[in-house]
């Protein structure tokens, strides 16, 4: 189960908190997966008491239209700034959860770039991040890019090419090391590269790793944070209830 409690001494209008939290949650806690199981108890709360606000300072509030949707053009600079702070803060909290996934030894960012939609990118990223075969390969430091492409290929909606127009011959896969060194290209536009296994091993030895999948050549992207899948996960969960 994921639980989160966030407190701030900014003054925020109660009706705006939910919208701010929902926005922040989408690219943070809702973009992580350890084992693909959605709990019955997941809850993240945001509390704001205004204790640090100077006398007379207005509370942060979002402008809503009659249907309850945020009127984006009318958002104040203070709200924009706080929203940015909140998203980064929630993302950093969410990343800590991934780093401590049961049995995890690696922190993996899965970034998918799509020229059709961010939804397609998210679905593909989640599919990779949830795949037990991808995750066990990461644990074993095996550059098994075939499993990555396989997981993209069965992502919900992806198989319906009318919707997402996935073209295998335009799809590329790379590992991006966390030390800033050159990415390792595994597949380029549907063609497998001659993989330098020594270099692949070097990258997979690192605690942090990014997998980049480009579904075409462009620009909408989405990312999901995950971890590897080790023997320890089975050990922990084999007798959790007892």
């Amino acid at each position: 189960t994921l639980l989160g409690i966030i407190c701030t001494d900014v003054k925020i209008q109660a009706s705006s908190i939910r919208a701010l939290l929902t926005y922040g949650n989408q690219n943070s806690f809702n973009s992580i997966t350890i084992d693909g199981d959605t709990s019955t108890n997941d809850t993240v709360a945001l509390l704001a008491n205004g204790a640090a606000a100077p006398e007379g300072a207005p509370e942060l509030s979002l402008p809503f239209d009659a249907k309850g949707a945020v009127i984006k053009g009318n958002v104040s600079e203070d709200v924009k700034a706080f929203e940015h702070i909140l998203v980064r803060f929630m993302t950093d909290l969410a990343k800590l959860v991934v780093r401590d996934g049961e049995g995890a030894t690696k922190f993996v960012t899965v970034r998918v770039i799509s020229d059709t939609s961010r939804v397609a990118a998210k679905r593909a990223a989640v599919s990779i991040a949830k795949s037990p075969l991808v995750k066990t390969a990461l644990y074993g430091k095996d550059a098994n890019w075939g499993r990555i492409l396989c997981a993209v290929g069965y992502a919900p909606g992806i198989m319906s090419t009318d919707i997402f127009r996935l073209h295998p011959q335009r799809t590329s896969v790379s590992f991006v090391p966390s030390d800033g060194s050159e990415p390792l290209r595994l597949v380029v536009r549907g063609e497998p590269e001659q993989v330098d296994e020594v270099r692949a091993k070097e990258i997979l030895e690192m605690e942090d790793l990014e997998i980049v999948v480009n579904l075409a050549d462009d620009l909408g992207s989405n990312q999901v944070y995950t971890c590897d899948f080790s023997h320890e996960y089975v050990t922990i969960n084999g007798d959790y209830r007892t």
């Binding site: 189960t1 989160g4 407190c7 959605t38 509390l47 640090a52 606000a53 803060f89 401590d100």
Partner: protein, 209 residues
């Protein structure tokens, strides 16, 4: 089990922090899980003054009792005049029927009692969270006895926050606590703070709304 933090994870645990004004954190031991004989498993985070609150919740159809209770609390209060959050680890209070709902409500009421219940007739001012095993009932007497002890433990120090962050853990190997300061464009001379704790470890693929 031994809860010493693995060497590889110690870099993620802060040794100090700057916490938001007017918020207090506390914890206590209730022994929710029978095998836990010494570690705190009740956490309380409260605002000294009533505050605004909101939450996102799991969309799993089998929502645990504390999820249902907390949703109702926020709906009834419109997110206003809240006081805080009480959390137990060791038992999820999920799929526990009507008794589970009563237990979640008892946790909220026991926490409210520590401050004096609101007289506005709008129900509890406390959100409830539980984490642990599904399908088992809470040892509610032990929990409601521990809640006043968590209240007595409340404080604003880094140690208070860290103990609370530890108390919400289950299979986590380290407490997850972050705090930051910031300013806003309209009054850059005012320093604000934000602090948060989280826990996870397993059964993690959140889809909250």
């Amino acid at each position: 089990a031994d809860r010493s933090i693995p060497a590889a994870k110690q870099k993620y645990v802060p040794s100090s922090g700057t916490y938001p004004k007017g918020f207090l954190a506390g914890s206590a031991h209730a022994g929710v899980k029978a095998s836990n004989t010494k570690y705190d498993d009740i956490a309380m985070i409260v605002s000294e003054q009533p505050c605004a609150a909101g939450a996102v919740f799991t969309q799993n159809v089998f929502k645990a009792a504390p999820v249902q209770t907390s949703k109702m609390t926020l709906r009834d209060r419109k997110g206003e005049s809240m006081r805080g959050v009480v959390v137990n680890s060791g038992c999820a209070n999920a799929v526990t029927g009507l008794v589970g709902m009563e237990h979640a409500d008892a946790m909220a009421q026991a926490t409210d009692d520590c401050f004096g219940r609101a007289s506005d007739g709008r129900g509890p001012q406390t959100l409830v969270m539980s984490t642990g095993v599904i399908g088992q009932r809470l040892p509610i007497d032990r929990i409601t006895e521990a809640i006043p002890r968590a209240h007595k433990d409340l404080g604003s120090s880094h140690e208070n926050w860290m103990k609370a962050a530890r108390a919400i853990c289950t299979t986590d190997t380290f407490p997850k606590l972050i705090s930051r300061t910031f300013t806003l464009p309209s009054h850059p001379e005012t320093q604000y703070s934000i602090a948060g704790m989280t826990k996870g470890a397993g059964m993690i693929a959140p889809n909250m709304a």
